[in-house]
Symmetry: C2
Subunit: 353 residues, 2 copies
């Protein structure tokens, strides 16, 4: 035997392209088109005054941010967990909660990292097909399982379940952990946070990367009842004592105070989305009902790969997934009004459209 | 069965205290007593000008930092891996490389996180006792194994193996991955980076947390030949696409240019260490030979727990491990000259000393 034989076998996730091309209109990774709160600048200025603090480890337990999120949500700190983006939070949740021999259920069309983490952690998965219209049928989640993951709103479809539907899933599944991934919830979805004290097996995850315009800081959080949170914290403390760094903790805590700016940015994205949907329809696209900062669209005559290539050649990057059932769709992030107008100008000039 | 039954069982690591007491002299977590490079301030100023960039994900692959470390070390980028502190890097290395049924070898007295990660990842361990003088005997590593981890210099002893001794271990162990954890190497140790092209199973890890005064940024790195690095990168890309955040990438890349300041700070710590060792000896302590930014000391008459308590009552925090073989020792981080003088003033006033 050789050291290569002892290496973990994995199939890495492929994130959206981050090309180094200038003047590209980047509508492929669901980033927010608006700058983060200007309180970021205030915090960076304070950090300059206090930069000597960086020689110290951050306070353990992400104290500052847990306290700020506690004040913001009205939940006590023992309901809150934080990590390096919701990817980190969800991966740790998988490690913590999915250790049965029963399959974990999630949709066949959903965030593709779930399957990657499942292979990494090493638990069985049962992919639950979404309906032909890409909706999730909650009755499909009435079967024995070792856990459930639902992205709500779902990606890359953008479609959302109602809070009542999420509660139906919870009512039927009290013996395994149900993770509701709310990365996109602030763009029109209904959060399940209100259910965490009622269902002790519910974990709700969110992120600063989309609605708070802070993908570059890598901050995610999870909410749950104190018992479930204590379990994931134990795994976190077995992995890395200090995860979020000092700039991230300070900035993430501060921007929560800028609620109006946050809500305004979300509203602007939703307004632009409504306009975008209409424009796509005018050009013979079908558009799934989106509660996120992206739309999932398919043209009635032209294949998605052709549109993808045409847009890329014209300086506009959208996301195409070369996967069964969705390879004739494009996921288009909602940019500024100007960016979306530029998109439709280019699209409108496409010969066959 | 209930969801609690599916939860991962772990025994979390206990990091050194980070108490919220003002004016405490903190010599318990091996932080650097000197501020980070002033280039940190320059980078923060640039980030203020450019804070809109935070709405974007950082460039994947930690591009900027890998390139900066490549230039700094003279190694090509495919020899370099980065993560959230060396804790993250080593934990991912354990996940990647330790998947045999043979035990992984490491010292009984070493960084106690290794055992925590072993339980988390789930591989067998054989603790190799250090000698009575706390030195590592490389002949003890001539046995079948699924991997080897050596902290060099070791913690909490502070003692180092020579590069020749590390190479002896590698010569005998070509079939399993050998991780050399060099968190403290810049304070007088010899790095094994020079051996990575000769031994394809060698992974050398380092950190910004000690010698570069940037514990608050959480940055660690690993060096190895391109094949071994590609394996750990695959696992990293199965966990989190974007780990280091934008401020960390920028600052960590920039400070590498401040080589003189870096070397001067390391030298100051080593000079203070030499003085500290002599002072401890004057007070009837035995002191292990340290190549780190801490010393491991034991008093000839007074038990370590008594000294620990006495110091804490007098506003000085050092580290005591309540563990077999070392519970009569204290690990004392090297602070500024003023801090060490304050320590010896307080110690000198201890009645029984």
């Amino acid at each position: 035997m050789n050291w290569r034989d002892y290496c973990k076998k994995v199939t890495p996730y492929t994130p959206g392209e981050q090309p180094k091309i200038n003047n590209l209109i980047k509508l492929n990774t669901n980033e927010n088109p608006y700058p983060p709160s200007s309180l970021v600048v205030e915090e960076l200025k304070k950090l300059i005054e206090d930069y000597d603090c960086l020689r110290r480890y951050p306070k353990p337990n992400c104290d500052m941010l847990e306290e700020a999120l506690s004040e913001y949500t009205g939940l006590s700190r023992d309901h809150i967990f934080t990590g390096i983006g919701s990817d980190d939070v969800i991966c740790q949740a998988f490690t913590t909660f999915f250790n049965s021999s029963l399959p974990v259920l999630f949709a066949d069309i959903t965030y593709s990292f779930y399957e990657v983490w499942a292979e990494l952690v090493g638990f069985p998965v049962e992919l639950v097909p979404v309906k032909d219209d890409f909706s999730i049928d909650i009755n499909d989640y009435r079967k024995e399982n070792g856990g459930i993951v639902i992205a709500n709103p779902n990606a890359p479809t953008g479609m959302a379940l109602t809070l009542d539907q999420i509660e139906e899933v919870l009512k039927f599944n009290k013996d395994s952990v149900v993770i509701v991934d709310e990365a996109y919830v602030d763009f029109g979805g209904q959060s399940a946070i209100s259910l965490i004290d009622k269902y002790d097996n519910l974990l709700v995850t969110q992120t600063y990367s989309k609605s708070r315009s802070l993908a570059g800081l890598r901050i995610g959080m999870a909410y749950g009842n104190p018992e479930i949170i204590s379990k994931i914290k134990a795994v976190k403390f077995s992995t890395n004592s200090y995860t979020l760094n000092e700039p991230a903790l300070r900035i993430a805590s501060a921007v929560l105070k800028d609620e109006k700016y946050f809500r305004d940015c979300c509203q602007k994205v939703m307004d632009t989305r409504a306009w975008t949907v209409e424009e796509f329809k005018k050009l013979n696209f079908s558009v799934l009902d989106s509660k996120t900062n992206f739309v999932f669209v398919s043209h009635k005559n032209i294949h998605a790969t052709d549109i993808y290539k045409y847009l890329r050649e014209n300086g506009i990057l959208v996301r195409h997934f070369n996967a069964e059932r969705i390879n004739n769709f494009l996921r288009v992030s909602i940019g500024t009004d100007e960016e979306m107008k530029a998109l439709f100008k280019v699209l409108g000039e496409m010969k066959e459209i």
